[in-house]
């Protein structure tokens, strides 16, 4: 009897599995065609001296050896990591604060959500142009206001010290809306019973947030941090439009270096090597975050 009752279960599971694969197949195809194949081709190019005529010969690890000796590469790596270290906490932090506010606001929550999400929808190039004016040392909005209270103009973009900070602030302003929405969904997924039970036990304010809300949000927070980290390590257009990588290469990022090498100087082999390094850096940092957060451990 067992045989007869168990028999249909296996094909059903198999059917479910194959259905799942079928659903995943379109996205998998896109990932393989538009991510996997270019990555493999780029890996090959990184071992050649291919230029714009498409002709190249194998040079082994010469491009990587040149990278290791290239001060410009280390400058761009340092700038990129500095940007990520500033932009990720700022973006996720701002997203978390606004999500907490919206979670408790009863009236006008929808309108506020739209207002906070608006920067995310804005064209980055347009936003960069406006922020360039906001930051301008001469006649800019912020410095104009500071000047009225007797403060000397601050070189937000006109000096090497504050450029990455200024760009990170714009990046956070532009991106926090996405984190806010994800975190808001995460907050709403935390059962009210948990908060009520903690409240009965005397938890209030910070204690309630620290011991109930934050642990409940952890998977969503990890997701937000990962997404923002990947995005920050790829930063290009923001710096390209606002500073062009300057002044004095103080905002010269890895992807900007890649772009210049590939599409300004047409050194595709070298640019591909930078691309591979960017991929390795992003994968390493993401994996480390995943492991450190505990989300990657087996359950």
């Amino acid at each position: 009897m067992n045989t007869t009752t168990d028999r249909p279960a296996v094909p059903r599971r198999a059917r479910r599995t194959s259905s799942a694969y079928l659903f995943v197949l379109p996205m998998l195809t896109l990932v393989v065609v538009f991510r996997g194949v270019p990555l493999v081709v780029s890996g090959y190019f990184s071992l050649t001296d291919t230029s714009w005529d498409g002709v190249g010969r194998l040079v082994g690890a010469a491009n990587y050896a040149n990278l290791a000796r290239d001060p410009l590469f280390w400058t761009s790596l340092r700038v990129t990591l500095s940007y990520a270290l500033l932009a990720v906490p700022l973006t996720v932090g701002l997203g978390l604060v606004t999500a907490l506010v919206l979670h408790h606001v009863v009236r006008g929550a929808v309108a506020l959500r739209m207002v906070f999400f608006l920067p995310y929808m804005t064209s980055l190039v347009l936003a960069s142009v406006v922020w360039h004016w906001v930051y301008a040392a001469d006649g800019g909005l912020v410095n104009g206001l500071l000047g009225r209270v007797g403060v000397e103009p601050v070189p937000f973009l006109a000096g090497t010290d504050l450029t990455v900070w200024s760009l990170a602030a714009v990046g956070a302003w532009k991106g926090f809306g996405y984190s806010m929405l994800v975190l808001l969904a995460g907050l709403r997924a935390i059962p009210d019973e948990q908060r009520e039970a903690a409240a009965v036990d005397g938890a209030r304010g910070w204690s309630l947030f620290r011991h109930v809300t934050l642990p409940g949000l952890r998977p969503v927070l990890v997701f937000c941090v990962l997404v923002e980290t990947v995005s920050s390590l790829h930063v290009f257009d923001l710096a390209y439009v606002m500073t062009g990588g300057g002044p004095a290469r103080s905002s010269y990022t890895l992807v900007m270096n890649l772009y210049e090498r590939g599409f300004r100087y047409f050194d595709f082999g070298y640019a591909s090597a930078i691309g591979i390094v960017v991929t390795v850096v992003v994968a390493t940092v993401s994996l480390a975050q995943w492991k450190l957060s505990g989300e990657g451990t087996a359950r």
Partner: protein, 417 residues
């Protein structure tokens, strides 16, 4: 009874077809010639109308050629052109600058056009011919001239006691002194990394008597005493507030920068269209065109742009016919009148009664097409950040140029690009 009717219909249809075919003109085999053109007119509508008219007139004169003009945006122009060449599918003709000519011709990707240029070569200036050639052969058919001159704000100059625009570095220093306590800038200097050094630091370098490369082109010469003097002049102006602090991230856009806001005395200009735009913003009487500055010599940056014939062209003879058509004085004159760019052939001069156009034309003798070598873009990419570092005080002028020269020499020693 029905069969004859059907036959009659078939017969009638066949007759109509025969009649239609006999009415059309005899078919001429047409060879396609593709041209990639970019916006060189201030107005997109004028651009479309001009090129449609060119296409019509050329095809009327050459019915065997199917000219296909593609109007493309400037965005990522370098990338798209390079990709087309890399894929082995470039157009027959494409708009190029001299530095592109040097690079592509060195790689054998262009066809010489000495035969096209020959009949008018005597009319072209030496700098135009030099900029159009590589290794002794002509590769560029120059159509118009980009000329970097200056424009000055008469109101600001008058307030500083200047009746005429400054014409030397010494006069700019005096102007800077007089404007220092008025919150005005002597120069509108766009030093963002997006701006070509050909529009910013290099003209000062040439005015001081220096050069980017040594005469044999194997090493950098930016750190010569002349180069250091040019950078010291610039740094001195920046430190004294005679150049806007935000210049280090400023793009070249005279009408929207300090000049357009009436805060600067003088600004570099690249086209007649920019001068006209400034006049619209500040007032026609306020803006005065001025020649490039002089120190050891008076030099401004200017180069011809034009069309190149690609090595893979499928119809090189027909493409050459079009190049000859474009070089006609009447076509160049019309191009000048509508684009605001000066023509490369003096006999094609336009707007002879326009004082602004004449002011631009008067500078042609002092224009220098730069040092168009294949490595020029990459060299500029290495020098520009050090110029910025000197402006910001992170490096002294000599330290900055020494560091830039070391990086350029290392690049040239590696043999790239």
């Amino acid at each position: 009874m029905r069969a004859p009717v059907r036959c009659g219909r078939w017969l009638a249809s066949a007759l109509v077809l025969v009649a239609l075919v006999s009415c059309t003109s005899p078919t001429v085999p047409r060879h396609a010639v593709a041209l990639w053109m970019y916006p060189i007119f201030p107005d997109a509508g004028v651009s479309r109308a001009f090129w449609a008219d060119v296409e019509r007139r050329f095809e009327d004169a050459h019915p065997d050629v199917d000219l296909r003009i593609e109007l493309l945006p400037w965005e990522n122009n370098n990338v798209k052109v390079a990709t087309a060449f890399a894929a082995g599918r470039p157009p027959d003709l494409v708009l190029f600058r001299p530095e592109q000519v040097a690079d592509y011709a060195a790689r054998g990707l262009l066809q010489p056009v000495d035969d096209v240029l020959g009949p008018v070569a005597g009319e072209l200036s030496k700098s135009t011919l030099d900029a159009s050639s590589h290794g002794g052969r002509a590769y560029l058919v120059p159509l118009y001239q980009l000329a970097m001159t200056m424009a000055c704000n008469r109101r600001v100059l008058t307030s500083a006691g200047f009746e005429h625009p400054p014409s030397t570095w010494a006069e700019v220093r005096v102007l800077a002194d007089r404007l220092a306590d008025r919150g005005m800038y002597a120069l509108d200097y766009p030093a963002g990394l997006q701006v070509s050094l050909n529009l910013t630091f290099y003209p000062l370098l040439w005015q001081a008597g220096g050069s980017v490369y040594t005469s044999d082109g194997t090493r950098s010469a930016v750190n010569s005493p002349e180069g250091v003097r040019a950078l010291e002049f610039l740094v001195d102006l920046y430190r004294r507030g005679a150049i806007a602090q935000s210049a280090v991230t400023q793009p070249h856009d005279p009408a929207r920068g300090p000049m357009g806001r009436g805060q600067a005395a003088c600004s570099p200009l690249t086209t007649l269209a920019e001068l006209r735009q400034l006049k619209r913003v500040l007032g026609a009487d306020v803006v005065a065109p001025a020649p490039p500055l002089a120190d050891a010599e008076r030099v401004g940056f200017g180069y011809p742009s034009g069309l190149v014939l690609t090595a893979r062209s499928g119809s090189p003879d027909d493409a050459r016919k079009f190049l000859r058509f474009m070089l006609r004085a009447d076509v160049l004159s019309e191009l000048c009148a509508k684009s605001g760019f000066l023509p490369t052939r003096p006999s094609a001069a336009c707007a002879r009664d326009d004082p602004d156009a004449q002011a631009f034309a008067a500078q042609l003798d002092v224009l220098f097409p730069g040092e168009p070598r294949a490595s020029a873009p990459q060299v500029a990419g290495l020098v520009a950040p050090h110029v910025q570092a000197a402006l910001l005080g992170d490096e002294s002028p000599s330290e900055a140029l020494d560091a830039a020269a070391r990086e350029v020499d290392a690049l040239l020693e590696r043999g790239g690009p």
